[in-house]
């Protein structure tokens, strides 16, 4: 098809009509012209309205799938969980469908139980310990891998390994390694004469919490290292060069160049870390099962136990709502941090 030889198709038939009307106006006289113009204007308006309506409809059609997805898979469970937490929702409910309204009874029972303050404290310690450890080690790895050295890429790839393993697999392996009698960790300690009897990693009440934090740090390092590495890559190299020219050593360069520019990313990593850690269930369930003597019982494991072991779904829902509120608070912090991050980067750019 030779496009040049064909007349350009008229995209705007309305325009053509306009000119036609003007041509005819000379013969037909002013009043008619006015009516025609008015008519035209109406038609134009209507076309415009129609176009706008269509546009709005199109906008909605783009939104609808996402909105439906969100409502169905996020909105519904959250709403259902909220409703459930105010109901006496037990095994019987599944068959009869009747869940009598229980008011705040589930919440008062859950919050006043002996276990709640302990579980809350454990959750705080677990989260703080995990996030701190993950972040510090993740940052160290990110800084380390920023240098170029032989096999650096391979090693960086290996760093992702904990992320690739199913948590049940790595959890079980850790459980074996930390076994007080036969685990490789205690055997090594004994072999090095660092401890004669070994450390009760999984059987001591305070050691068990340290153990699950340790395992969770190991699990979380790849996430922290990857995001922070990405953040470091975004810092323009010339800033470091300039700092070097000004006589800044590695420490000063990190303090005055790297850290301030990395801070927005740090904020994001930390907040996401908290949100991911608060709800950790699998690591604890596999490694200690919440024990010994509830020493590693967090709000998340408590909620799981209430719902799926004791089948007290109402109380389990109430407990998980406490968790949702905590996560939500941090999610809001995250959104604010995110906005600040964008501002900083806009300033740099």
């Amino acid at each position: 098809m030779r496009s040049g030889s064909r007349p350009v198709p008229d995209r705007c038939p309305t325009l053509r009509v306009d000119t036609g009307a003007e041509d005819g106006a000379v013969a037909a006289g002013a009043p008619v012209t006015g009516a025609a113009e008015e008519d035209d204007k109406h038609r134009k308006d209507r076309a415009l309205i129609r176009a706008r309506r269509w546009e709005r409809l199109a906008q909605w059609m783009f939104i609808v799938p996402a909105a439906a997805y969100l409502l169905l898979f996020f909105g519904y469970p959250i709403a259902k969980n909220l409703v459930m937490s105010f109901q006496q929702y037990t095994t019987t409910t599944f068959y009869t469908g009747s869940a009598p309204f229980a008011g705040l009874q589930n919440y008062s029972k859950v919050l006043s139980s002996d276990l709640f303050p302990k579980a809350l404290l454990t959750t705080v310690l677990f989260t703080a310990g995990s996030v701190f450890g993950q972040f510090v080690l993740g940052l160290a790895f990110a800084l380390f891998f920023q240098r170029r050295f032989p096999l650096g890429r391979v090693l960086r790839g290996l760093l992702l390994l904990p992320w690739l393993l199913p948590l049940v697999v790595s959890g079980t392996t850790w459980k074996w390694m930390l076994d007080p009698d036969t685990g490789v960790v205690n055997n090594a300690l004994r072999g090095l004469h660092l401890s004669s009897s070994g450390i009760p990693w999984l059987t001591g009440t305070s050691q068990a919490l340290a153990s699950v934090i340790l395992v969770n740090i190991w699990v979380g390092i790849p996430f922290n290292a990857t995001i922070l590495y990405g953040g470091l890559q975004d810092i323009p190299a010339h800033l470091h060069e300039a700092a070097k020219l000004d006589g800044a050593g590695p420490v000063a360069s990190f303090r005055h160049v790297t850290w301030p520019l990395l801070r927005p990313v740090v904020g994001v990593v930390l907040v996401l870390g908290v949100v991911y850690t608060v709800k950790v269930l699998d690591v604890i369930l596999v490694v200690t099962g919440g024990g010994p003597a509830n020493a590693t019982e967090t709000i998340a494991t408590q909620s799981y136990e209430l719902s799926f072991q004791q089948f007290e779904f109402g109380r389990g829902a109430a407990m998980s709502n406490v968790l949702v509120v905590i996560s939500l608070a941090f999610a809001l912090v995250y959104l604010r941090a995110n906005r600040r991050a964008r501002n900083v980067w806009e300033a740099v750019a």
Binding site: Y95, D181, G289
Partner: protein, 418 residues
């Protein structure tokens, strides 16, 4: 169905229609139940749900179900899910009204499921529940009606390594004092004398029950001296170094592994471990009833075993067929077959006596089962709370967080929900 010649738009529309029909069926939950076994038609097949996922168990049960189905004139579609997900699955099916025609449940779960109204009393099918051992019958009964029957039952006992006992010159312990002495005698570097499952799960509770019950303790009142003495025994075994502190984390399978690896000389475990124990030709093991506080007492152990039930269903005909299969599973001949296959005990005392003569190695279990108690016999649907209290107390006492008395006082609070 959707030809490629169809214009694109039409094809998409057709896809959507097919999709929505599938969705509708899924939502109303009537997809599966319409075929061969609708309310009016002749029933040619029934569905069965159990937790026998592992072979050879799965196949053995499958064969028996097929054989029993044949006598009832139906084919059997067996589905097995892992033990931990059976109750969640049943609850899910209960709410979508897609329960199987024949359902297996672990006996302590029966009353809770019967309470929901999802099961039917077996009396209405004319199934005779007389001649069953009292313990298992009580586990299958809710509010005076029998909802479930188990062809075979089991319990736990003391397994010991014959070579290790002979080497140390130790007799099989019969009492708690003998148990403590033997465990201490059998302990060596790299080896413990005794192993139990003191896990923070219902399995841990189940292993503690023989000690609690044999000493006159009771789950309806946990803060008693009898219960404290039983717990003290476990604490002493750990404190003296005869039992690893790792019992806090061990499952029954872990305990078994320790025993097979020669890292413990004695253990508490169930007869379902026997096939695996027999695999190791160098392992010479024996089994005895669980030691009792004083010589001459009878051990009271918890009753294990799965009961078969007929769930609510809108087809009377299917229920009748399922009940026929259930009755067949529970007849004396099949009981004996199952017991021999799985090293369990037939649930009719008459059949059990015959069995003990045929299989002498099962005598310890046959004897224990006679006095065994169902976990739900005392508290019924309130059992899970008490069970939670018990394992919590065991954990607190063994870690040294609390004394047995304190731990049990706390357990009583958990059990009563206060």
């Amino acid at each position: 169905m959707i030809s490629s010649a169809m214009p694109r738009a039409q094809r998409i529309a057709a896809c959507l229609r097919v999709g929505s029909v599938a969705l509708l069926l899924a939502v109303t939950g009537c997809g599966g139940k319409t075929g061969p076994g609708s309310a009016t038609g002749k029933v040619t097949s029934i569905t069965v749900l159990d937790y026998y996922t592992d072979d050879p168990e799965h196949t053995q049960w499958g064969d028996l179900l097929t054989a029993c189905g044949k006598t009832a004139g139906v084919t059997v579609e067996q589905t097995s899910v892992p033990g931990a997900s059976l109750v969640p699955k049943v609850l899910q099916q209960a709410s979508s009204r897609t329960l199987p025609d024949l359902l297996m449940l672990d006996n302590p779960d029966l009353q809770r499921i019967a309470q929901t109204g999802a099961l039917t009393p077996l009396g209405q099918y004319g199934i005779d529940s007389s001649g069953f051992a009292k313990g298992i019958l009580s586990a299958g009964t809710y509010e005076g009606k029998v909802y479930g029957l188990a062809p075979d039952v089991s319990t736990i006992a003391l397994f010991y390594n014959k070579d290790m006992l002979a080497e140390s010159g130790v007799d099989v312990p019969r009492t708690w004092a003998e148990l403590q002495a033997a465990a201490a005698e059998l302990t060596r570097p790299g080896r413990y004398g005794m192993a139990v499952d003191a896990n923070a799960t219902f399995e841990g509770t189940w292993q503690f029950l023989p000690f609690l019950w044999s000493n006159g303790g009771d789950e309806s009142q946990l803060d008693t001296p009898q219960a404290a003495q039983a717990l003290q025994l476990w604490v002493d075994l750990v404190k003296s170094g005869s039992m690893s502190k790792s019992v806090l984390n061990w499952t029954q399978a872990d305990v078994h592994d320790q025993f097979v690896a020669g890292r413990t000389a004695m253990m508490i475990n169930g007869p379902w471990r026997i096939p695996a124990l027999n695999e190791d030709k160098n392992l010479h093991w024996g089994v005895a009833t669980i030691p009792v506080p004083q010589a001459g007492q009878t051990p009271v152990t918890p009753l294990g075993g799965e009961v078969w039930t007929v769930p609510q269903n809108n087809s009377k005909a299917r229920q009748e067929k399922a009940a026929q299969v259930l009755a067949c599973l529970n007849d004396s001949t099949n009981m004996l077959t199952l017991a021999e296959q799985h090293f369990t005990v037939p649930s009719r005392p008459a059949a059990a006596a015959q069995y003990a003569e045929q299989v002498p190695s099962m005598a310890a279990f046959v004897e224990s089962v006679e006095a065994a108690r169902a976990r739900t016999s005392r508290l019924g649907v309130k059992w899970p709370e008490a069970a939670t209290g018990i394992y919590t107390a065991v954990q607190s006492a063994l870690t040294g967080e609390q004394t047995p008395q304190e731990a049990l006082k706390h357990a009583q609070r958990i059990a009563t929900g206060s």
